[in-house]
Symmetry: C2
């Protein structure tokens, strides 16, 4: 099936919100005969869609294939802007690298890059992110906000809130945020966020937000060295999740928060972030590139900088660190 | 002449600081015969170098060709790190674009990209920078400082100080800095700085500092629409300058300030910057992307943000704007 026809067809089903779309309507939308409509429907079936056909009513999607692709993401996406342009790959080195190139080429805000597998997934500080096939969400979102670069770290925090909200809604689990960029369930990492930017000193060209979300992995999926520190939604909830649906929820949640952020600034986002954050008001050890700081995490400032009060009473600004909560 | 041989030869002359280098020494350095040395010297002559040859003493460079290239920059360069890796081009679209690509590929700190002509020179906010052949310095410097992104704008200010110091030393002129990124002489723009970055939210990968310096242009070189606002060192001083020498002075001045910055932070740089800045303590109009602010420019903060006090007494943080000083 031509991708343009498939897109129109799936959009029609999306707009019907689970209801029927008549053969007549599809034939008008695609500008093709009823026989051709039937052929297109058969092709969707071959791709794994379960479709119901009822005389006089038309076609209805009963179940989507358990895979992730641009179509699965598009069908059911309720956002106004984000995720409308989708670059989907079966396998990539890193969605961030591709998104960086796309951003350089000028693609518009809201464009996402999604892969079923990353062979060179990246985390913060040039660390690796384990991204095996068919198990998780490896996605990069391109934004072009009109904000000073000093405010970019706020978007990492906004992203964390968006993902926590989406996971809560879909799974009923209660993830927490660990500054600056991790989301944990039962003390184990389920999500990592990597915010990168292309900018002038006083103007952001593009912010590229990478999200790695462990969804359907079981314990055996994780290599030994991360088994103790990583988890997945499947492990925590005991059921499988549809990755495309999670992506849709994240994008929707993100868009709401982002629109609020662009309109009202960081304050409302900060309040939400604090409500999900662990490691605030606790004694922490922060390992930075220039040394280790111990003290009480008293909060974050408007730039997303962590404020730590040392035993001597001095308040240190921590821009980047690995945090450990003292027992 | 092979570039490796030329490089070694010119480095030998550089190390001699204007003095003689014996044929014997050159022959040892290059691992070639005295006859071959003579041939290499002849080739330099053909390239426009004036060389003196004195029996028993050796060779001495009397005058360098009035052109700009990697060799001219290398010969006489007194820095420890900056400018040792030089990418020179006769003509490029933009040195910034090339430097961005090189930074992505992992070239080391201090690498510079220099072109004799830019066909698509860029300024702040996607504006153009007029960069005709053989008249100015169109250069990009790649840095990899271990600083949070919030501090990146400090490097624009550091660059301005480095260039002002170099111009003062070489020409005796007294340039001033206009926040955020222009250098003026007699109220007209002689230098523009464009600081771009590749970064994570909490870690800088590369800062790419573009410098456009009008050196030997006369009035006729400037297109009509910038004649009234642009000037060059030639116009202001009435003499021509050797561009390679200015680049060397800038790199040396930059390296001193940068080493101090990495060691002691922004404070000493800020004091220097303020001593060269116009528009401080004056009534200004600042045009930002989100509106116009009028007030007194009371200073810059440690992040390079301009602080403007409005008539109502409120202090506004200005991250990015075009500034006009009220008469």
């Amino acid at each position: 099936m031509q991708s343009e026809i498939r897109r129109k067809l799936l959009e029609a089903f999306r707009d019907a919100k689970g209801g029927y779309v008549s053969g007549q309507k599809i034939s008008e939308l695609l500008g093709c005969s009823r026989t051709a409509v039937w052929k297109h429907i058969e092709e969707l079936r071959k791709e794994g869609y379960e479709l119901e056909a009822i005389r006089k009513k038309g076609y209805r999607i009963v179940k989507m294939p358990d895979k992730i692709s641009d179509n699965e993401i598009r069908l059911g996406l309720e956002t106004n802007r984000l995720g409308h342009d989708i670059y989907y790959y079966d396998q990539v080195d890193s969605t961030q690298t591709i998104a960086q190139e796309l951003a350089n080429k000028g693609v518009k805000e809201g464009t996402i890059v999604v892969a079923d597998e990353q062979t060179g997934g990246r985390g913060r500080m040039a660390r690796t992110w384990y991204s095996p096939k068919e198990t998780g969400i490896w996605m990069s979102l391109i934004l072009r906000p009109n904000i000073p670069i000093q405010h970019t770290p706020q978007l990492t925090l906004l992203t964390a809130v968006a993902i926590v909200q989406a996971i809560e809604e879909i799974s009923g689990l209660s993830p927490v945020i660990k500054w600056p960029n991790d989301i944990l369930i039962n003390g184990k990492k389920v999500v990592g966020i990597l915010t990168e930017l292309q900018a002038e000193a006083d103007r952001v060209h593009a912010v590229i937000i990478g999200m790695g979300i462990n969804v359907n992995q079981n314990q055996d999926h994780f290599p030994d060295h991360i088994k103790e520190i990583a988890t997945s939604l499947y492990i925590e909830k005991g059921k499988y999740f549809t990755r495309a649906e999670i992506i849709q929820k994240i994008l929707l949640s993100f868009e709401r928060l982002y629109d609020q952020f662009l309109k009202d600034g960081f304050k409302p986002i900060k309040l939400l972030w604090e409500s999900y954050a662990i490691s605030l008001k606790q004694m922490i050890t922060a390992r930075t590139l220039s040394g280790t700081i111990r003290g009480k995490a008293i909060g974050i400032n408007d730039e997303g900088v962590l404020l730590v009060q040392t035993e001597e009473g001095e308040v240190k600004h921590i821009y980047s660190a690995d945090i450990e909560i003292s027992k």
